[in-house]
Symmetry: C2
Subunit: 504 residues, 2 copies
């Protein structure tokens, strides 16, 4: 080692005092830096890949459906590639096997509805554009040698422009976006390539048949092996959002009235539950997409061909309205100003009753949707919720008096009203309690508003039950509680003209 | 006419009393019904087409950019079709002109970022899959005649499955979804068609060059003729949402305190303004899409290549949070329970001041974003808003006392507190005013919460100003008001320890 080192070339510089100084081996330093950099990069790269694989693994464990979709696509492509391997098949489609492969890759989507929609779009788009292309080509051919490219060029420009613009129309975009793209593609290929290829019709027929082969492979595989129906997913999404709202509402109010706010493992689970409503906040795009796909799907399971998917969007919108309310409610829970304990105790039970009856309604709705049966208890639950609303209103009406009488039996109140000079003192006392009451009052008022919004969801689900002809429940085992039927009457009470209960 | 009628065949039936009755000419009725039905259908169809055209016309008038995009696509396709018409060009790409047309149709999107992203995705996907396909083909070729299709089939199945699964990963989906699809497509075509075509490399080179031609036509046209930058659109969207929030907030509070609620034409305009916040509620998907596209865009206008587009998403999220709050506020305005006029009068000015100062902050932010300059007045505006929050809190603290003293100078209060037996009377009197106060209290509390949420937006915009290096404003002409600087100090006041002003 020592010998090797002594053999190395050294750079020396003559310094002013006559002594030469050894220059630092910079190239060595650069080399080392480079090695270090390379290792770091490689390490970073490997680390990134590891993280990516870990994420992929987690995704696969969480949603095995996505792995299954991957395998289905692999299977479809392997199947369609047989057209290349087997000479009779290859010759059968006149060397156009490429179009079958392309169709499979482009058309195969994760849900049956999306795949079917794309297949139908592709078929119709290809057919229409093909016919139109042949027509335009015929006209161009008969308008003379000189005019031919002009006619073709102008028709191509006009049709492509108009079709592209039409893709911006919301109704077209929702259902036929892909079809229009295929229309433009096919029309350009047919009208232009027709300029060279004379056997236009034969070519068109071959392409259509290969597309049909690819499309049918896609449809068969996506419908036969673990089919994933967009309709099922939409249905499940709405049910889950209802349940999440119910949990969030419950947890939110429980959290507000909790005495001991220490963070334990259980609390974290609660806080996760509490934030469940956020899924509903941003699910609009997903719901619309799934509803669009679901409309292409044939009858399957409990859903008929013309299942009212649009009604799900209405229900989704009213769920979102409710979620906005819970989002604001959530703000109350996190609020720094907290009502004094005795006040909280006063409203604790009744707020909890309202929130639990509200979440009960939501869960009833979720259950009714899940089983697709008319809930026999929904009217009872709504009645209970409305009764709780009235109770809360009464409790609020009795609040200021109650509050003062609990905390300050009489002296200061008597003094204050007996003597006008002491008014500022009462003002501060009474008012400080009012200011403290504010978040609690907001919570109560939001709970009341939320109940009204839940009734909109109930109406939406009832409409769906009529449209989709939900069967009435015959099973009475599942009724969890024995509510007294007289509570139902409160449903019809006018909130404005309600009487104050005697005990207040 | 009469003759013709008499010549018609008649169906007669023998009725029990020996007289034959003439049967109604059902076929004629059916025919008439059919004609009527046909006319109706045709009319309906024509009506539908007319409606569609009207909608298209309105869309074109509202957003001429979309028409321009259509014309650009038409131009690009016409240009690329020249490769078919002109023999030297056609021969130059070895008859593969089809791929150039296909590239243009598939890749041309309305924003530059989306087009660029797709082009880059297509290029990288094609290149990677092509190389890998050739590699796999080489391995298969050298593993013997029998093993060749097995090696190819298995590699195709595995790669297609894995690649399809990877499209579900959020990070991949956001930026490389299209690239992965092209990867699968090219890999299948290359690895499988390689089984037949020996001139694989030549073919790959020709396809790459045609794709390059198509892509460059798209990029040039989309960037040179009226370019539509996704970044610009995102920037504008955020600015507009800020402005809409400001208007909604203002209108909401004005509407609540309006005395005369009759619906006139002006009111309708107001109500439209009031609902502007709803655009912000559902813009998440659009914002994410545009931010993803914007990241592909080169430096343009005031935006550098690495403009912090992600920060816009953060600002968008906090705007949405604010919009949820305004949605609940909107519920208060529509609420049936209205606070008594004297109470409203008490809080009218201060609520209006808070809402207008809040909306002022939002408009300042929108202006700062629009001009991309650090606002010199934003701190002042935020200070004003916080001062208004404190004022509102004081007003709320003084409310119950104020309320009672205005409406009922002393008699019943004295009676009530002097004599315990009359307590129920006070309870109802005082409490009824509390119940009436509830929506007003909720409004106030939501306005206070909203101010806190606006501060989050302010922080988001400030971060953006640092990241994107906004220039400080030098223009002092635009300062509208001469606020006293001491108002700024209220910003630092702790809301919990605030003192009650002397005059209360």
């Amino acid at each position: 080692m020592g010998k090797e080192a002594s053999r190395k070339l050294e750079w020396r510089i003559n310094v002013s005092d006559g002594v030469s100084e050894r220059l630092e081996p910079e190239t060595g330093a650069i080399l080392r830096a480079w090695t270090w950099f390379k290792r770091l990069m490689l390490g970073g790269f490997i680390l990134k890949i590891c993280k990516f694989l870990e994420k992929a693994w987690n995704l696969a464990v969480d949603e095995p459906k996505k792995v299954i979709h991957g395998l289905k696509v692999g299977l479809a492509i392997s199947l369609v590639s047989l057209f290349y391997y087997m000479r009779p098949l290859y010759d059968g489609v006149g060397g156009n096997a490429m179009w079958a492969v392309m169709t499979v890759v482009v058309v195969f989507e994760s849900s049956v509805g999306a795949t079917l929609g794309k297949c139908i779009n592709r078929a119709i788009g290809t057919f229409l554009a093909g016919s139109l292309g042949v027509g335009v080509h015929w006209i161009a051919f008969h308008s003379g040698k000189n005019l031919e490219p002009i006619v073709l060029g102008i028709s191509l420009f006009l049709l492509a422009s108009a079709a592209t613009f039409s893709r911006f129309m919301p109704t077209i975009k929702a259902r036929f976006d892909y079809g229009i793209m295929i229309f433009i593609l096919t029309f350009s290929l047919v009208s232009v390539s027709g300029y060279r290829v004379d056997k236009l019709l034969e070519l068109a027929q071959q392409r259509l048949s290969t597309i049909a082969i690819g499309a049918s492979i896609c449809i068969i595989i996506s419908m036969l092996f673990c089919p994933m129906w967009a309709g099922d997913e939409l249905h499940l999404l709405i049910c889950q959002n209802l349940e999440k709202l119910a949990h969030s509402l419950d947890e939110c109010v429980v959290e507000y009235f909790r005495h001991n706010k220490t963070s334990t493992a259980k609390d974290e689970a609660c806080s996760k539950k509490m934030k469940g409503y956020r899924c509903a906040l941003n699910s609009k795009a997903t719901e619309e997409l799934k509803a669009n796909f679901a409309r292409w799907e044939p009858a399957h399971g409990r859903f008929s061909f013309r299942h009212p998917w649009k009604q799900y969007l209405k229900i989704g919108a009213s769920i979102r309205n409710c979620a906005y309310c819970i989002e604001t409610l959530h703000g109350c829970v996190d609020s720094e100003t907290q009502a004094p304990p005795h006040l909280k105790r006063h409203l604790n039970n009744i707020c909890m009753r309202l929130s639990s009856s509200s979440s009960n309604v939501l869960q009833e709705l979720a259950f009714a949707l899940k089983t697709m049966k008319q809930s026999s208890k929904i009217n009872l639950s709504v009645g209970e919720m409305n009764f709780a609303v009235q109770e809360l209103k009464h409790a609020l009406i009795s609040l200021p008096n109650h509050n003062i009488s609990i905390k300050n039996p009489s002296p200061s109140t008597v003094e204050a009203s007996g003597n006008c000079n002491t008014e500022p003192i009462t003002s501060i006392r009474a008012s400080s309690s009012f200011m403290e009451i504010l978040p609690l009052a907001t919570l109560a008022s939001l709970l009341i508003e939320n109940a009204a919004k839940i009734e909109v969801i109930v109406n939406g689900v009832n409409e769906l039950a009529v449209l989709a002809e939900f069967k009435p429940t015959t099973d009475n085992k599942k009724s969890k509680s024995n509510q007294s039927p007289k509570k139902l009457t409160s449903e019809n009470q006018d909130p404005e003209t309600v009487k104050i209960p005697q005990k207040v």
